[in-house]
Symmetry: C2
Subunit: 582 residues, 2 copies
């Protein structure tokens, strides 16, 4: 019988003795490793926060007291203690429990969270709601893993400081972001660690917080002590807690960046269970940029705190040297910074995931597009996916493509991608965003080098009756649809639009001559997307338009195959839909 | 002959003596007042920054040295000193020179800027570009008026601190934001002012900056001294400068918030030249919310640093009391905060301008929409306008309406607006955003109280052949088109869609029975907007669709009438376009 067996809600740990809690901590670590080694997930952050989480639930009374996790990298121990341990023990349980906080899973979670830097703002709102309702409970935000450098967190911090009421912000300082810490904020955290929290030069005190330092946040007694002291405090406080990322698992302790998030692995040796082979756009992009920088010192690669996700490993960052800037989790800054790099005569290439580019709409519009600075942005992972609801990547086309002056390109092959990237870097006219495909295809024929004549679609196969506009990563789907139609005796026209941000009026007008139906295929949300612009263009014509893409909805870990079927994105469904209106 | 007569470029002030500079400062103030009293503009910020600007151009060599203004509230003296004084003297000049920095106006401007909090990030990019190119010059950011609390500024600050190279950030501290200062950052600025810059608890030093304090930034000798000392410095420095907002103009000194930005006024008595009468949505909204709060203490009005723009005067803020929260310029926080207020059981109403809601896409999506918290957001000023390019308000429909779970409503009358607002506050199902109309119309008949059956359009007049879907503030245009068509013997159907975020499939299908043409009218960008969804819906049908709205483009102070004509938004043009396809 393990201690974990006895834990079904937070109240079950309140009666454990310290040595029992320490045993439980080991069991929790094993459970975390069990889940992550089986289905993948955040390893290091969760191993580091075990004791802090136990102390929180030991001292506070969740869900009356509100515990709000930032970005949810660190929520596994919390899930284990709040009735969801099965998600860490059995495979069936794992499939039911997500890797992020979610109120639908438990009353101990208050928000669905998967983007960084939100916990302090959310805690402020919960605290203010408590105050206007005349209630009494603690509101606790837990933030770490580099989230503190995000604008939303800093806005929240400044506001939390003047809340004049109970709010307890736990800074989980494991000396790391997802990769290394970046920025002046971490300069100060380091100073505070080095002075055991005593340095006068303290950004939190400067903002007006009461400040407490815990030198070993993996010591559960110390954590319980400080939290008992602060429970029910009537003012905003910071608890700066030093923890060890990856604590208790040697591989994760030794290589903190690699073990931030992992695919399934063998616990014994830390080796991944599955090896991925073949070409991928991370390698392709790095190799191209490294060569480019060797030729031209003005090329600067920019990333905002997630270099690993786009293939910029520590070794590769060393190779890029001073021509690589990781600004930390600060996506807004990354866009403005890139715009100004371009204005100043450098050649920036900002690499970002589709889900996180959402942070930057106003910077794309104001700092970049209005100024028409020729920065390049590479959007990775764009497309319909089976991801967690907080990491969907199907919204970047509506987000980016409706901003004037931006040229948003959708390459279909490796060769086209590299040609577009090279052109984007060398041109001086427009901000260029490129939607990096997922699977790697190759062009059979040569690709254009120059994309400066905007909005010229490429006619890949000339046919009649039906025209297929197959955008970017859905170009291969377009080819399949074309093949299937051929089987039915229809010689369809196939077009690679290339430009997401504009209409090739000449080509679309020519299609009217001998086409009755135009279909669009896009790997993303239909609302506000590419296909609707085609539908508008043909609105007053006799030509019929069918748009294929994702419905406007948030989906949560729905398998891609299921989504494709739901959205009528299989070859068979598309052909059926076409036949219905022929 | 004035000193100003002799100033045609920055080098012309370099030979002036101190007493001559002081005379010139007076002339610059008169020029600022001359412009603002004639055509309106930012008064207080520009009057306060005169000496700092003169010292910058006295010490540094623009455009070699790069001077980058935040939000451009404070760029008038810079414009006057850089060859654009005519924009402050003659009416013809005023129409040519904008109120914001613009590289097309002058080589001394580096960015088109009109949103806050961008200068530090932009300066970082310029500095990094300088460094990779091996150049030597100074990069100077000037930030004030509350911009420092914006996430982008704080991200930039953290990154500037570790730049390890020349960057000079001037914090223009006039003890004000647009309204009062809000947040812990300003707690620290106050402490630093009170200690003459000597307090150890200094957020800038904590981040790693060298820090300098100037107690009287309106003393030109002091400003010249400090800048000469810092010119060509090889590290990031902060110059915290205390200035007086409105300096030299009594009315502006006495009422700093009122005189931040003004419509044309009489210089002698400070009275506005034109008085606006009649109903407006600022008053309507305040009156409703004040009554609502009197009934229900859980209603909380939220604003992010621009209360005056939405009619929340200081007097009204006092009336709202603890049920009003100005979070300062921190739009992202405002959305997350509102989401959490709703989660916590309060009833938040966040009031924001269309142009500034652009800052919050990710918070709308992640913090709010994924969580389905029933916060209410009121978007003011949404629509096509003759505004400066940085303050256009025609993008909010593409921005907001393609996010799942959000209910974006477009009321057409005061009665409908208040019914929707009341419903939004009382319901518990969805985040509700309301696009506040501009002109006030009244409903002749009653309006529904309950909008929980989503996406039900309202049939206002049943006709045939042509159906007009006239959204929100363009409903009156729809009525005019309907009347004009009647003159031509066509009895058109007129529909108030009410819901921007969804399709009324039943009604749209019914229209197929006896309509050949459906037109949509929307007061905003067509790309990604409302009408395209209608075009997609009818894509495979015989019905023809014409979408009317704005082209995807940035316009800069183009008169509304001209834009309407360009976009085919006059009644005559719309009817002509319809007749062309009948």
């Amino acid at each position: 019988m393990s201690y974990l067996d006895t834990i079904n809600s937070p109240k079950d740990i309140k009666n454990l003795k310290i040595n029992e809690l320490k045993e439980l901590a080991k069991e929790i670590r094993n459970a975390i490793l069990n889940r992550n080694s089986t289905i993948g997930g955040h390893v290091g952050p969760n191993l580091g926060i075990v004791e802090t989480t136990m102390a929180l639930h030991y001292v506070f009374d969740s869900p009356k007291d509100k515990i709000i996790y930032d970005v949810s990298h660190q929520c596994y121990p919390h899930k284990i203690l709040t009735g969801r341990k099965d998600g860490f023990i059995t495979e069936e349980g794992m499939s039911k429990i997500s890797g992020y906080t979610n109120p639908q899973e438990s009353e101990h979670d208050h928000f669905v969270v998967g983007h960084t830097s939100t916990s302090i703002s959310l805690a402020c709102g919960m605290a203010k709601a408590r105050d206007v309702k005349g209630e009494n409970h603690n509101v606790i935000a837990i933030i770490g893993d580099g989230s503190l450098s995000g604008g939303e967190a800093l806005e929240g911090l400044s506001n939390a400081a003047v809340l004049n009421s109970n709010i307890i912000i736990i800074i989980n300082d494991n000396e790391m972001s997802i990769a290394e810490n970046q920025g002046g904020i971490y300069t100060n955290l380091r100073l505070l660690r080095e002075t055991n929290g005593r340095a006068e030069c303290n950004m939190f005190k400067a903002l007006g917080f009461e400040y407490y330092y815990v030198a070993d946040g993996n010591n559960i007694e110390d954590m319980i002590d400080i939290l008992q002291q602060l429970k029910d405090i009537n003012k905003p406080v910071i608890v700066h807690v030093r923890t060890q990322k990856g604590k208790g698992y040697k591989f994760a302790e030794d290589n903190k960046e690699k073990w931030h998030w992992n695919f399934p692995f063998n616990i014994e040796n830390g080796e991944p269970k599955y090896v991925m082979n073949g070409e991928n756009y991370n390698d392709i992009t790095f190799n191209f940029l490294a060569n480019k920088i060797a030729e031209d010192d003005k090329v600067v690669v920019v990333n905002a705190g997630t270099p690993g996700a786009v293939g910029l490993t520590p070794e590769r960052r060393v190779i890029l040297g001073k021509n690589f800037v990781d600004v930390g989790i600060a996506e807004e800054h990354a866009v403005a910074f890139s715009s100004a790099l371009a204005k100043g005569g450098a050649k920036p290439v900002y690499m970002v995931l589709s889900s996180f580019v959402q942070r930057t709409y106003d910077q794309l519009s104001q700092d970049l597009a209005i100024n028409k600075n020729p920065a390049v942005i590479l959007v990775f992972w764009g497309g319909i996916s089976g991801a967690d609801v907080t990491h969907l990547c199907s919204f970047d086309i509506p987000l980016i493509s409706n901003i004037p002056n931006i040229v948003y390109l959708a390459p279909t092959t490796k060769e086209e991608y590299l040609a577009m990237l090279n052109w984007g870097i060398e041109q001086n006219e427009n901000p260029v965003v490129i939607r990096v495909p997922s699977a790697v295809f190759h062009s059979k024929e040569g690709v254009e080098k120059d994309y400066s004549k905007l909005n010229q679609y490429k006619l890949m196969k000339k046919g009649s009756e039906i025209a297929i506009l197959a955008l970017g990563s859905f170009y291969s789907l377009g080819m399949q649809v074309s093949d299937k139609l051929k089987e039915k005796g229809i010689d369809a026209t196939l077009i690679n639009p290339r430009y997401i941000t504009g209409i090739d009026e000449d080509m679309l007008n020519q299609l009217k001559e001998n086409h009755k139906i135009v279909i669009t295929l896009e790997d993303g949300e239909l609302n506000g997307g590419f296909g609707e612009k085609i539908a508008r263009f043909y609105g007053a014509d006799d030509i019929k338009v069918l748009n294929f893409g994702a419905i406007k909805e948030f989906t949560d870990r729905v398998p891609l195959k299921e989504l494709y079927k739901k959205y009528h994105l299989t070859v068979e469904q598309i052909v059926e839909d076409i036949e219905k209106i022929r």
